[in-house]
Symmetry: C2
Subunit: 216 residues, 2 copies
């Protein structure tokens, strides 16, 4: 197996997931600022054009961060970050989708259609007129999540799950590009600090110092 990696928040999710599970994978870097992930060589591996991807032992490629992490979880069930039973997995996946469809997808699209527009305008069908509303929806849903999670340590309860990693990497990225964490969300704020203190948070930072580049 080989991780096809780059800077950016989604590849970081996979790196943080790997660090949490205490596994290592060889990796290959793709230059997304140069748009190498939108060129023919990469599109043959992943016609979606997005990063990251995972080359499997049979030579095929999978993509989509959540799919890659589900696959790694099946291959390396120790230090579970999705769940040990079908019921645990169902609850973790439920929160995964709630967080992605309500919060992180809206934040990413809000970014791509506004602050990230110059980078994304020729890569995606951007909808600049929706950017402000998408960001607003994400903030409303973060408030909803804040009220539902209360002071439990992690989004699904007492154990860290893939959804925690997904949201943490998104919020950490967004702090630098105009979608700072609302300080009124006390539960999310405390959770964010807990996530930031995990060794996997530092271990998953990209050597190319993604945040500086994206802000630059």
């Amino acid at each position: 197996m080989k991780l096809i990696d780059s800077f950016g928040p989604n590849p970081r999710v996979v790196r943080m997931f790997i660090a949490e599970k205490d596994i290592t994978l060889p990796s290959e870097q793709v230059d997304i600022l140069a748009g190498d992930n939108r060129k023919e060589g990469y599109l043959k591996r992943n016609p979606g054009g997005q990063m990251p991807a995972l080359e499997l032992d049979d030579g095929s490629f999978i993509a989509e961060t959540a799919v890659i992490c589900e696959y790694l979880e099946e291959k390396y069930p120790d230090h579970t970050r999705i769940g040990k039973t079908a019921e645990e997995r169902a609850h973790a996946r439920l929160w995964q989708r709630r967080v992605e469809l309500n919060i992180t997808e809206n934040m990413y699209n809000g970014f791509r259609y506004a602050e990230g527009y110059e980078m994304f305008k020729d890569r995606l069908h951007c909808i600049p007129a929706a950017a402000a509303d998408l960001k607003a929806v994400a903030q409303e849903k973060l408030k909803w999540l804040d009220s539902l999670m209360g002071n439990q340590p992690f989004i699904c309860g007492n154990e860290p799950r893939f959804v925690d990693i997904t949201l943490y990497c998104c919020l950490d990225f967004m702090q630098g590009v105009g979608q700072a964490l609302n300080p009124d969300l006390k539960n999310i704020g405390a959770w964010f600090a807990r996530m930031a203190a995990r060794p996997s948070a530092a271990a998953s930072l990209h050597p190319a110092s993604e945040q500086v580049k994206m802000r630059g």
Copy 2:
């Protein structure tokens, strides 16, 4: 286990998945036109407010169509519709996400923000200004899918998967509400006819004749 069911395309996805897997589940109906899924009793079960949901044997509830079907697949692995191996599941989930994030989510939101606006305006943060672009993105990505799938029988190859059910139920619903299938998409058109001919397509229609109601 009990399926919390209603009319609408997402509950139909679960019913069609169940029919494909040849299992039966008791169910309870919720009146979504009356907004019962947005009232306190239902929100205690599913704070997302969406349909369908699944009550587990331990009395807890899960929601999100894809999560419910992954759970049922784990509990009833026969007649797999996600995959028999980790690799098969990864490829099926990859297409599942590509189809949802690029096509069906955009079609549903395009509908909710336009034709469905009166029903959804007090239930969701609607973005009417984005409706036309969301529908356009879905059409672009359907064309992309059409070119990638070629004349293979199903989206992932030779076997029907959950993603086929997800896309079929969405496209069938959308035909009645302003997002008809583009007849130029020959591969998708042939695939759609194959899906429509499956016994599960008829078996999953809702007795309340969802399409007539939604068009009415």
